[in-house]
């Protein structure tokens, strides 16, 4: 008896929840959706590429640090504790050492270098906002 009731309840539910009683969205549903999809596809097509790539930045940073480190250790002379610790002169090859013997890192060049970095950063920011 209970099984029969369950069967009828199933039949009734099928009738109520079935295909005939399905709701439909607005007429322009698909067209609205496709325009959104179009926008997504177009935004995917433009991939932002930075003017200076990451490896280039890395090489530049290593070069700047190496030059700065070398010049600082050179200007303080052999007695500097840090240069002894790093033993920088042993690391740098003879050829590279010859090339940089006359390199002097004055205060003016330090300020100029810092200014250059600041301006470069500013320029990148401006280019990025313009491109976006």
């Amino acid at each position: 008896m209970e099984n029969n009731a369950e069967k009828h309840l199933d039949k009734l539910s099928r009738k109520i929840m079935g295909k005939t009683n399905l709701d439909t969205p607005s007429k322009d549903f698909t067209s609205k959706l496709l325009s959104q999809i179009d926008y997504i596809s177009n935004s995917r097509a433009f991939v932002y590429k930075p003017p200076i790539s990451k490896p280039v930045w890395l090489v530049m940073a290593v070069a700047v640090l190496a030059i700065t480190g070398y010049s600082v250790s050179n200007s303080k002379g052999e007695t500097s504790h840090s240069s002894k610790m790093l033993n920088l002169k042993n690391i740098v090859s003879k050829h590279f050492e010859d090339l940089l013997t006359d390199f002097q890192f004055s205060e003016i060049s330090l300020y100029a270098f810092l200014m250059f970095c600041g301006m470069l950063y500013l320029q990148i920011l401006i280019i990025k906002t313009q491109r976006n």
């Binding site: 539910s13 959706l33 999809i37 997504i40």
Partner: protein, 193 residues
């Protein structure tokens, strides 16, 4: 839609053919929208959620592994998107009590509905579905509309097949209770014979 048809449509969409996606949307939009409407109980929100669902489908299609039917996967996305919206809105509906029904009582409801004018019947049915709890409405819609198997249902709802069976059993009873509440006693008495 068969699995081979689904594969063709997926590869066309992945190639960037928009008509293929439009075809997919047209064949599933009614069910996705109805599911959203029955869960969220609001037409505007349901339309938004249905749109979000299809956008998610479009974006995630390259990662779809074909380990289930495309429709099952889409309904799962639709169900989850609705749940997210419900959580966001913090909407909770009062639950309906479960009563026992006899075979005759159910036949009476069925006959009463059959003998009513289509418009009136439609309004009563919509009212009852509106009062169903979101999860119950989703379960009943997917089970009875697309005639999904219990294993497919368990993939969508992340529940075991047995759990789905028990839930469906309770949902049917809740729906009958709501119908009795919505139908006037005289209507059942007059038409239900």
């Amino acid at each position: 839609m068969t699995i081979s048809q689904e594969k063709i449509i997926i590869s066309a969409i992945l190639k960037g053919e928009q008509y293929a996606f439009a075809k997919l949307v047209d064949s599933h939009k009614d069910l996705v929208f109805s599911l959203a409407l029955r869960m969220l109980k609001n037409r505007e929100e349901a339309e938004e959620v249905a749109q979000d669902t299809f956008i998610k489908v479009y974006k995630s299609l390259p990662t779809f592994k074909m380990d289930s039917k495309l429709s099952t996967w889409m309904y799962k996305i639709a169900y989850r998107t609705c749940l997210d919206r419900i959580k966001k809105n913090k909407k909770y509906l009062s639950d309906v009590q479960i009563d026992e029904f006899t075979e005759n009582q159910i036949k009476s409801i069925d006959n009463a509905l059959d003998n009513m004018m289509a418009k009136e019947r439609g309004a009563i049915i919509k009212n009852c579905i509106q009062k169903l709890d979101s999860d119950d409405a989703a379960l009943m819609t997917l089970y009875y509309y697309d005639e999904l198997s219990l294993s497919e249902m368990s993939k969508i709802f992340d529940l075991s097949s047995n759990n789905i069976k028990v839930k469906l059993f309770r949902c049917r009873k809740k729906l009958a209770k709501l119908l009795i509440r919505n139908l006037e006693p005289e209507t059942i008495a007059t038409y239900g014979k």
